[in-house]
Symmetry: C2
Subunit: 202 residues, 2 copies
DNA sequence: AAAGAATATGACACGATGTCAATAAGTTAA
DNA sequence: TTAACTTATTGACATCGTGTCATATTCTTT
């Protein structure tokens, strides 16, 4: 019999799914730290040991749950950038900053869990580092492009500028995730973009 | 008998001190997460229960150990700022960014522990938030001052600008703490200051 | 030196985790 | 159809770290 119709395999998938859902709910309610595996297991209505058949532990569960969110970040990082003027650059950059921060708003709850987990789990911290690197590389290229086309101040180290710019964005992202921001995402994006573009471009 | 000559009290202070030192060593070796209270107790050569007489737990120990470092941050945040020109402003800002990042280098090891703890302990996270707020308020005032004196672009929200600028600094700080930076502190400070000042000032 | 106060101690109870030998459920092949 | 085999589930158990508390020790006072 083929794998798809295999009753055993199907049940296994269902079990896994039940646990993932229970884990998500538990993480959202309790946060990463306080979320207990035993609690997830109870909620999923499965045997204790079963959880460890499907996942190595809490960390492993969260990684799977985060994969979807992380994909979205990678997509944002891949926007193309070939401005012909300072104004066009400003426009593109503003849109990208907006999209980035909007993500934080849209996925706030999972991102809150994620933030905690970054501080605790090496693996998850590495996943975030990879996302950060992707963004910085992308921005780095963009800055270099602008410099080569006479749009931006060439005396600046594009790598350092790129990091600085991303860092501002990232910190605002966490601020939004934590609900600590007063202003709207649009206002934030516009302000930081303005300072950045006026500071870098000619 | 007065408190100073009190043998009992003196011994108590010694015990506390021994534990603090052992805790520091353990934190530095193991990181916040992995550091075990039992390990610190062994190293300090005191009875298990004694640790709990002096401190509530791991969190409490680290808070005491961090107080010194945190003081230094508050001092940096208190630098005065009354520039008469854009160039003077740039100079002051550059110096402050430098001092801030140098702190990260000087206290790198304890800051590494601190970073982990921020992700885990609410109390410690709040301590850092207070430091951050202090800086942002300070910078906010500085931006407002520059705007009022016709030195900076008045159309920008000074609060948002201040946060953005601090965030760049903070993220570079953590990067330095984690030893992930390629460039020197001076180079970093100069580059980010340049973009910031050219972007904000007239 | 006896009573009293401050400090130190480690055995213990507790809560959470991950493992594993046993069991159940489903599939295959004769 | 059923016996052998494979895959999935289970919960009791061992382990580990923490914090508490009744008791012991050390010092001070009267």
């Amino acid at each position: 019999m083929d794998k798809v119709g295999d009753k055993r395999h199907l049940r296994s998938i269902m079990t896994r799914q039940k646990l993932l859902e229970a884990a998500k709910e538990t993480f959202l309610e309790e946060g990463y730290q306080a979320a207990l595996i035993s609690q997830m297991i109870k909620r999923a209505n499965i045997g204790y040991g079963t959880a460890y058949v499907h996942f190595k532990g809490k960390e492993d569960l969260l990684i799977v749950l985060m994969e979807n969110v992380m994909e979205q970040f990678y997509e944002i990082a891949e926007t193309s950038f070939f401005p012909k003027s300072k104004d066009e650059a400003k426009h593109i950059i503003n849109r990208q900053a907006n999209a980035f921060l909007k993500m934080a708003e849209a996925e706030r709850n999972m991102m809150q869990v994620f933030e905690q987990a970054i501080g605790i789990s090496t693996i998850i911290s590495d996943k975030w580092k990879a996302i950060r690197m992707k963004f910085i590389q992308r921005i780095s290229k963009d800055v270099a492009y602008a410099q080569q086309n006479g749009l931006a101040r060439a005396e600046l180290n594009h790598e350092l500028v790129a990091r600085g710019w991303f860092f501002t964005n990232e910190m605002y992202l966490w601020e939004i995730v934590r609900n600590e921001h007063q202003s709207t995402v649009e206002e934030i994006a516009q302000t930081i973009t303005s300072v950045y573009v006026e500071g870098l471009y000619l």
